[in-house]
């Protein structure tokens, strides 16, 4: 079932200069859509139109079948999780208070907020002892986990993520990606995920949407985009990097071990 629908949506900040050009596309419930493309292609703008952080200049956006203008902005936002690269944790609140923020503004009691925070902190793979710490006592990767937990607190069916793992180191990022993929499979939320990392886009997305200059170049599965590129731009963009991302890592690891063995024997 369609949960998010863009119908001929355009956005311009200056007259005649469209950042988003007449985009129409649908996202089904439970999909993990990665929006990928070069900087300035409009992927973040498209994402932020879903929770009304940016208003479209033309066209219609439908969330759960209702047009965005008919949604109360506050209600809509409370029903959509949101994670950004800088995380934006509240420095004056403990981790429990950060995670429970959505519940607080919707009027939940303290005990309920705390038990939800305890439940979610385990889900994102952190020890329960972190619950009374402050964001400044956490590493970048840990903060990002809390960012994810916070987005899940209101039990939203849609989660928007804008390069959420962009600021953490390589090893932590890979771990976060693996775990987040599992969380998606477990909870079945609809996720829209902006990234400029080809590897990340192909690894996480059940559907990958490649954007360029405000239009969608191609939308499909990882193999569609890598092996059946719709245009030279798509082929150039993914190229050998995209191909490598699709290779099975276990097989590669075995090949590598074998190569070492052979090298040792010939010595």
């Amino acid at each position: 079932m369609t949960i998010i629908e863009f119908d001929k949506v355009s956005k311009s900040y200056e007259e005649g200069k469209d950042v988003i050009k007449d985009i129409s596309f649908k996202i089904d419930e439970g999909e993990f859509v990665t929006l990928v493309g070069p900087s300035g292609c409009g992927k973040t703008t498209l994402l932020k139109m879903i929770n009304k952080m940016i208003a479209p200049t033309a066209g219609k956006i439908l969330i759960r079948g209702n047009e965005i203008s008919s949604w109360d902005t506050t209600d809509l936002r409370r029903s959509i999780g949101y994670v950004i690269q800088q995380v934006g944790l509240f420095p004056h609140m403990t981790i429990a208070e950060n995670i429970g923020y959505v519940l607080k503004i919707t009027g939940a009691q303290k005990a309920e907020r705390r038990s939800k925070a305890l439940e979610l902190i385990s889900l994102v793979g952190l020890d329960k002892s972190y619950i009374d710490k402050y964001p400044r006592q956490l590493s970048g990767g840990q903060k990002q986990r809390i960012g994810v937990a916070r987005a899940l607190a209101g039990d939203p069916d849609i989660i928007l993520m804008d390069e959420p793992f962009g600021a953490v180191d390589e090893i932590a990022r890979k771990k976060l990606q693996d775990e987040f993929k599992q969380i998606h499979q477990k909870l079945g939320k609809t996720i829209v995920f902006v990234t400029h990392d080809i590897y990340e886009a192909l690894k996480l997305g059940t559907r990958i949407v490649l954007m360029n200059n405000g239009v969608i170049e191609q939308s499909g599965t990882d193999t569609d985009l890598v092996f059946k590129p719709a245009s030279p731009f798509v082929k150039d963009f993914f190229g050998i990097k995209g191909y490598k991302a699709l290779l099975d890592e276990d097989t590669l690891q075995k090949d590598y071990e074998k190569a070492i063995e052979i090298a040792e024997r010939t010595q």
């Binding site: 506050t74 995380v87 509240f90 959505v102 400044r136």
Partner: protein, 215 residues
């Protein structure tokens, strides 16, 4: 003049100085209360209205170019001699640091924190109370502290327009060529200001460490 004679004066005229100190505390407290209410409200309104912000900042800046003694004189013509004029003058002078620090404190909260809180569905009031004001509080309290010290000191000249307070002792000392009296009054104003500063310094530190984690 010997410093011991100042203390003799305190002992001989305890009742007189106590009365003046109480008046001084009353004058400054009322002014501080008015300033806090007006300053916070104005600062908060300014933070969501750029146009108003520049107008208010220019106006309050202009206020400071008026010498305090001239402002007192001007107010006597308008509201007469006494406490009312003094409180109005003290409030006008003290309001700038509170307005400016409230405004700056709120507008300097990190954009991504505001973005997160907004995108999570905070109403403007929830954003203000849960995020903006707590995060701006160290800056606001720093402004509040400056204002309190300033108001206590400036309160000393309120007696020029017939208001009470420790200025009465200072003024009497000057006019009757009685330096011990002037020093006795000034010393109490200074003590009052220092005590207020130390106490508010602790409050400020407390807020900073709660909000920013600095020890």
């Amino acid at each position: 003049m010997k410093i011991t004679s100042v203390f003799d004066l305190y002992i001989q005229r305890t009742e007189f100085f106590t009365k003046l100190l109480i008046e001084h505390i009353y004058l400054t407290s009322v002014s501080v209360l008015i300033i806090t209410i007006v300053g916070l409200t104005t600062g908060i309104l300014m933070s969501s209205n750029k146009k108003m912000a520049s107008i208010v900042l220019t106006l309050t800046g202009f206020l400071y170019t008026i010498p305090s003694i001239a402002l007192f004189g001007f107010l006597v013509a308008l509201t007469g001699i006494g406490n009312t004029s003094a409180i109005i003058a003290l409030s006008l002078y003290g309001v700038l640091p509170v307005i400016r620090n409230t405004y700056v404190g709120i507008t300097e909260v990190d954009a991504e924190i505001i973005e997160s809180a907004t995108a999570m569905g905070s109403t403007p009031l929830q954003l203000l109370l849960n995020i903006q004001l707590p995060l701006a509080s160290p800056v606001i309290i720093a402004g509040f502290r400056t204002m309190v010290i300033m108001t206590i000191a400036l309160g000393g000249i309120a007696s020029f327009i017939g208001a009470g307070g420790l200025g009465v002792a200072i003024w009497r000392g000057i006019t009757t060529n009685f330096p011990e009296m002037t020093v006795a009054g000034s010393l109490l104003v200074a003590m009052f200001a220092i005590i207020a500063d130390v106490v508010l310094g602790f409050v400020e530190k407390g807020f900073s460490s709660k909000i920013l984690g600095k020890e």
